[in-house]
């Protein structure tokens, strides 16, 4: 294992200390339990938005805490859902009297821990709604299984719900918006290499020098299929076809598109992927209204990328364009 770290057990706390030192103007960090909170939280009268999940997906979620996006993030251990006491502390810290939305990625652990936290917070009088994000088309959806995973749509939901909360929407409206974003989003990822969980010390999976994994999860979970590395055009074609046909996205649709790096893929490749995606969608008559290209929801140092599309309407675009001021995403004013 090659990482620039000290003790594997200290990675998260020491990285959080770096976040605290680098972004003291935007966020404050608490360590026991670990949460990253918007510096001016709780904002009175505003719906608080809390998300969280395993660490190792930076900048998500901590990098999205700030004006116009999250009020707090709960960083779990690497690839492990945070614990209910973190979520409860975050919920309390951001409760400005208008209730708190939990944005939860659909993983058994995340869902169960957030459920326990919501029970605890509600018992103490905070109004909590939870929305579960499940946008990954690589996974077969079914009533009888854990369902699809939550991936890239989480970033879009956090941005859009953050903007809605900022303009004063109430909890139900913000939660409904979150459900709307989720219902209209689809994602798929792929990997060229594995990642290595610091505490595990070894790559999560082995993959040949000429192989790639299509449909990979953001925790290095194996995907749909292992195959020989294909061209960018073919890779984007496979992923986009799966995404577009699932919702489905139709000719005439306008979308917010995210081309996301898994952590170890350079920007030059992500823009090349964006170019292929743009061409692919053009052929289908789908227009990209807004885009994000970069590392937003990563898997440590994994090489690979994911694509997320959200069917956009005027309301979503207006919220997308609203100002945001966080360590990892900022525009507007």
């Amino acid at each position: 294992m090659k990482k620039i770290i000290n003790n594997p057990d200290d990675v998260i706390n020491e990285s959080l200390a770096g976040v605290a030192a680098a972004h003291a103007d935007l966020v404050r960090v608490e360590y026991d339990p670990a949460i990253i909170v918007r510096v001016d939280a709780p904002v009175q009268g505003k719906v608080g938005i809390v998300s969280g999940g395993g660490s190792g997906h930076e900048p998500m979620h901590g990098g999205f805490v700030g004006m116009g996006m999250l009020d707090a993030a709960c960083p779990g251990d690497v690839f492990t859902s945070p614990t209910p006491d973190q979520m409860e502390a975050a919920t309390k810290a951001v409760d400005g009297g208008a209730g708190v939305l939990h944005i939860v990625k659909n993983y058994t652990g995340d869902v169960m821990n957030f459920e326990m936290a919501a029970e605890l917070a509600q018992a103490e009088g905070t109004n909590v709604e939870a929305v579960v994000i499940d946008d990954d088309v690589a996974v077969q959806d079914s009533l009888y299984t854990a369902g699809r995973r939550g991936v890239g749509a989480t970033v879009l939901a956090e941005k859009i719900c953050g903007a809605a909360a900022e303009r004063g929407d109430d909890l139900k409206t913000v939660a409904d918006l979150c459900r709307k974003v989720n219902a209209n989003s689809r994602s798929m990822g792929m990997a060229l290499t594995s990642c290595t969980v610091p505490a595990a010390g070894e790559p999560t999976f082995q993959i040949g020098e000429d192989e790639m994994e299509i449909g990979i999860g953001i925790h290095g979970e194996p995907g749909r299929e292992r195959m020989k590395v294909k061209s960018a055009k073919e890779i984007v074609g496979m992923m986009s076809e799966a995404i577009v046909s699932d919702l489905p996205f139709n000719s005439g649709d306008s979308v917010i598109a995210m081309v996301n790096g898994m952590g170890g893929t350079p920007l030059i490749e992500l823009y090349l992927v964006y170019n292929e995606l743009n061409e692919f969608l053009k052929e289908k008559g789908i227009t990209i209204a807004r885009n994000l290209v970069g590392n937003y929801i990563t898997s440590l140092e994994m090489a690979g990328c994911s694509i997320t599309l959200l069917k956009a309407d005027d309301e979503l675009l207006e919220l997308w364009d609203a100002p945001v001021l966080t360590p990892a995403l900022r525009w507007g004013e």
């Binding site: 251990d77 006491d85 058994t108 652990g109 999560t204």
Partner: protein
């Protein structure tokens, strides 16, 4: 024998060692069909449990179980944190006020704890989860109880059935938890949570005899 508070604590402390020794093994199993952390999670959880029991020793059986539960809930995260946490929390409600547990009380403790796992995780037998170890183990233990077996015999039957259940997860396609995302590809691998459950029961059978 009957299980005292100290026997219970000895088991829990032994589990810390069990999960420490099996950290790589459980993590490897999880790498195949999950996210390569089950061993790390269990080890982190039970290390914290042991520290907490040492610094704040609870004085009776129910409070030991409750302390274990709260630590697991706080320190583990993931799927196994709330599942094992809820298990111990429920288990403690089955033994409130008891100073010693005979074979029937031990089985009832496990059974009540297990009902928490079901309620929290909503998995069924055959979903390729820890439920596939608990279910045959509890059936075997109840059967042994019915034929008046000793605590040792009851636990050995339970551990053996858990082991069988654990092995039986290999061909299954996962329906719950992270492994379910793999669909067909989850077949051919042993479930990590069923394995950690089996280790838990094996240790009880070894110590409480």
């Amino acid at each position: 024998m009957a299980v005292s508070r100290d026997n219970l604590v000895a088991w829990i402390e032994a589990l810390q060692q069990v999960y420490n020794e099996n950290k790589e093994y459980l993590t490897k199993l999880d790498a195949a069909i999950g996210d390569a952390d089950h061993g790390i999670n269990m080890n982190r959880g039970f290390t914290a449990v042991k520290t907490e029991l040492e610094s704040n020793p609870p004085d009776n059986i129910a409070s030991v179980l409750k302390s274990v539960a709260m630590t697991l809930i706080k320190k583990v995260g993931g799927a196994s944190g709330p599942l094992y946490g809820t298990f111990f929390l429920r288990a403690s409600t089955a033994v409130t006020g008891k100073e010693e547990l005979d074979a029937a009380a031990v089985v009832s403790m496990f059974e009540t704890g297990f009902s928490g796992i079901i309620q929290r995780g909503k998995a069924e037998v055959g979903d390729k989860t820890m439920v596939d170890a608990w279910t045959p183990a509890l059936a075997a233990m109840n059967e042994a109880l019915d034929s008046d077996a000793s605590l040792k015999e009851v636990l050995e039957k339970g551990a053996a059935a858990a082991e069988q259940g654990m092995k039986d997860t290999i061909p299954l396609q996962a329906k719950k938890g992270r492994a379910s995302y793999l669909g067909e590809r989850s077949k051919g691998h042993q479930d990590p949570g069923a394995t950690s459950t089996c280790l838990m029961l094996q240790k009880a059978a070894e110590l409480w005899s």
